[in-house]
């Protein structure tokens, strides 16, 4: 079974769902896509190096087999949900108003 591909799709759905559920709505913001393109650039560099040099190797049994350069496409699903959730969590915790202290 293409387990990595399946997990990748589930994680992307979970990220989109949490962005909606936690009302962070980062996916609706233009800045998010600027951010995503910058991260994608670095991802291609680092992930490309790690897979190109065979520092990380994949079992083809669990992959769809499509690669962009040396990077399996599933890695893009993993990466997307990881960076999206990072920003969703960060926005959630950052925007939470400070707990009010009782007046003296």
């Amino acid at each position: 079974m293409k387990e990595y591909a399946i997990l990748g799709v589930i994680s992307v759905c979970a990220a989109i769902f949490l962005d909606w559920g936690l009302q962070t709505n980062v996916l609706r913001r233009g800045e998010f896509y600027v951010f995503l393109i910058i991260i994608l650039g670095f991802k291609l560099l680092v992930n490309g190096y790690l897979t190109g040099k065979n520092i990380v190797m994949y079992n083809p049994h669990f992959l769809l087999g499509q690669r962009i350069g040396s990077i399996p496409i599933e890695d893009f699903l993993f990466g997307f949900s990881m960076v999206t959730l990072t920003i969703v969590f960060w926005q959630t915790f950052k925007e939470r108003p400070a707990r009010r202290r009782p007046l003296p």
């Binding site: 387990e3 990595y4 997990l7 994680s11 800045e31 600027v34 951010f35 910058i38 991260i39 670095f42 680092v46 190096y49 790690l50 040099k53 065979n54 520092i55 990380v56 190797m57 994949y58 079992n59 669990f62 993993f78 990881m82 960076v83 959730l85 990072t86 920003i87 969590f89 960060w90 915790f93 950052k94 939470r96």
Partner: protein
């Protein structure tokens, strides 16, 4: 290990740039990174256990946490940090040009 240090170094140094105020939200930073580490770290432990992927033993340190090389665990700290830094930088630049 070297790749990880290089990837983390620049954003880490730049993160002290005052207007970004990332450390003002140190708790939010800590919680966000912890959650990512927990969620995606578990995924990684599962994936290595199922052998979806594996690491070249000569390229990583011997020290392991569960079945993951220490570099892989640190990856889940460094990358969210870089993401948050980049996101705040994008927001900051946008606020400056508008």
């Amino acid at each position: 290990m070297l790749v990880l240090v290089i990837a983390g170094a620049v954003p880490f140094l730049l993160s002290f740039f005052p207007p970004l105020e990332i450390y003002r939200n140190a708790k939010a930073l800590f919680y966000s990174i912890s959650l990512i580490l927990l969620l995606f770290g578990s995924w990684d432990v599962f994936a290595v256990w199922r052998s979806h992927w594996y690491f070249d033993t000569y390229s990583v340190w011997d020290f392991k946490i569960f079945n993951l090389p220490v570099e892989e665990v640190l990856f889940f700290v460094v990358i969210p940090f870089c993401c948050i830094f980049t996101w705040e930088a994008v927001l900051y630049i946008k606020s400056r040009i508008i």
